[in-house]
């Protein structure tokens, strides 16, 4: 970044004033790109693209840290102390706007300044709740193992609520920019690209601070280091919630229960359903699936200790509620039906799937019980 241009200074043309330094401009447009990317991957992209959503979010996180540091050590117009103004100043500004002759400000006007604060806080909270949701719901990310499903789920709701708020703030921000552009006859969107604003005779050049890029660099490096150390520390946590070690073959489960069908993870049904199932194996969905008494008892034990209530994954939490009519049928559970409602019924009959109960045909991590979004792959024969 060019240091000589980070302060407010007169340019070649005496009429133009550099307000937005290169760093703030790049920050602004990268933020636009990443927010659009996150909005698209959050709302529209297929579920398995979650990694993109998370990566865009991480990018926004880095931008926010940079911007907050720049709000302290950046050049005048980028500093919080210059654009966070008293409520009286905001009211005064709004009154001047209402009169049709808004007071001129080199950087953000008092109302716009608060919008920046609102956007930064909202984005920060979206990232924090997203990170907690990722950890609690999917058992992924740096907080995996520390957050229960319940907390993660709550944070996902808050995450979505805050995104709704963000998409009220952004149009308001744009409307404010357009309004100010019209009233001041100055294209402020262009200003955020070139960094320059016109200076007319009646306007006095405000006294604004120079940037302190070295301070900013030290702070950014310090925060990055702190995050890195925190990440390493959290990563060493030995037994993340909902990640109880499970191996169908090691437990003898695959041999006992995985010869006719895939080894359904025990966390996909509550204990009560397994209890009924293990005592009615001679008529197991119309088949005789009886086991020797020894093996039956082992499996009874295994299924109970790993049933839905013993696991904290999303699937385990949601599948604790079973169908009233068919409590043993996972594919009849309300959550299963809800999650698969867009999949045409006849696609299950395709050769590579065979039936609804063949979870691993699309969920590559089914055996582990995790059912993460990233592991969803539609089989080669296309599901319409």
């Amino acid at each position: 970044m060019s240091l000589s241009h980070t302060s407010v200074s007169r340019q070649a043309s005496a009429q133009e004033l550099l307000i937005w330094d290169k760093g703030t401009r790049i920050f602004h447009w990268m933020l636009v790109l990443l927010v659009v990317g996150d909005a698209l991957t959050g709302w529209m992209a297929p579920k398995w693209m979650l990694n993109w959503h998370v990566a865009f979010g991480a990018g926004i996180g880095m931008l926010l840290i940079w911007r907050i540091v720049w709000g302290v050590y950046g050049p005048g117009p980028s500093r919080f102390e210059n654009f966070i103004r008293s409520p009286a100043a905001v009211l005064g500004h709004l009154r001047s706007v209402a009169s049709g002759h808004p007071r001129w400000h080199a950087g953000h006007n008092p109302a716009g300044g608060w919008m920046i604060v609102a956007l930064l806080i909202t984005l920060t909270l979206i990232l924090i709740t997203g990170l907690i949701a990722l950890a609690g719901e999917e058992k992924q990310g740096i907080l995996a193992g520390w957050i229960s499903y319940g907390v993660g789920h709550l944070c996902k709701e808050i995450h979505e609520g805050l995104v709704t708020l963000l998409f009220v703030l952004i149009p308001t921000h744009i409307a404010g920019v357009i309004l100010e552009s019209l009233l001041e006859r100055e294209n402020l969107i262009r200003s955020m690209i070139t960094g320059k604003k016109r200076l007319t005779a009646i306007q006095t050049l405000p006294e604004l601070q120079q940037a302190k890029p070295v301070h900013a660099l030290i702070w950014n490096s310090g925060i990055a280091l702190l995050l890195w150390v925190g990440y390493l520390g959290l990563g060493e946590h030995p037994a993340p919630l909902g990640h109880a070690p499970w191996s169908a073959s090691a437990a003898g489960y695959a041999k006992a229960c995985g010869e006719c069908h895939w080894s359904f993870h025990p966390s996909l049904l509550p204990e009560s359903s397994w209890q009924t199932m293990i005592s009615t194996l001679d008529n197991h969905f119309g088949e005789n699936a009886s086991l020797s008494e020894d093996v039956r008892r082992q499996m009874d034990d295994l299924l109970r200790t790993n049933a839905a209530h013993a696991w904290d994954t999303k699937a385990a939490n949601q599948l604790r509620r079973v169908s009233k009519e068919e409590p043993m049928r996972i594919t009849a559970a309300p959550y299963w039906l809800k999650k698969h409602r867009h999949i045409p019924a006849d696609s299950y009959a395709s050769k590579s799937i065979g039936s609804k109960s063949n979870c691993p045909a699309c969920h590559q991590d089914a055996e582990s019980g995790h059912f993460t979004p990233q592991a969803i792959r539609n089989p080669k024969e296309k599901i319409a």
Binding site: E259, C260, H261, G286, N288, S292, N358
Partner: protein, 137 residues
């Protein structure tokens, strides 16, 4: 030493291509003992009887599974498919050499499948007949 080599070469030519393992042989012996107990007339297991048993439609079991071949495929050398859409390796020992090496597994599946196909447990003679038939495939 020379005698030993001659003996080994001789053994290699005598032993059939798909040698039955000790487990498979002892399983057959067990079924033979049980068959003698069940019926004094029992003499020896017959692969032809086993083939007939394996390929015929039976009655008394579940309507969806009238024969062994319903799930196991038309012949012992073909693959089958479980009712839950999981492939079943061929029953023929030539195709799946590990077949019948685990007596508990054999008993588990005779237990389940005789009930599904016949509606009753299989006799020791039926089990032995099918076994010698499949071991010769």
């Amino acid at each position: 030493m020379k005698a030993f080599i001659v003996w080994m070469v001789g053994l290699a030519t005598v032993v059939p291509q798909h040698a039955w393992s000790g487990e498979q042989a002892s399983l057959l012996e067990k079924y033979a003992r049980q068959a003698r107990q069940e019926s004094p007339d029992f003499t020896v297991f017959q692969p032809q009887r086993g083939e007939l048993f394996f390929t015929s439609r039976h009655s008394g079991g579940k309507p969806d599974t009238p024969a062994c071949t319903t799930c196991h495929g038309a012949t012992p050398t073909s693959s089958g498919m479980t009712r839950a859409n999981k492939p079943i390796e061929p029953m023929a020992i030539s195709k799946t050499p590990s077949r019948f090496a685990d007596p508990d597994k054999v008993e588990k599946w005779f237990g389940r499948n005789c009930d599904s196909v016949l509606g009753r447990p299989c006799t020791a003679q039926e089990k032995g007949d099918v076994l010698v038939y499949l071991l010769k495939q």
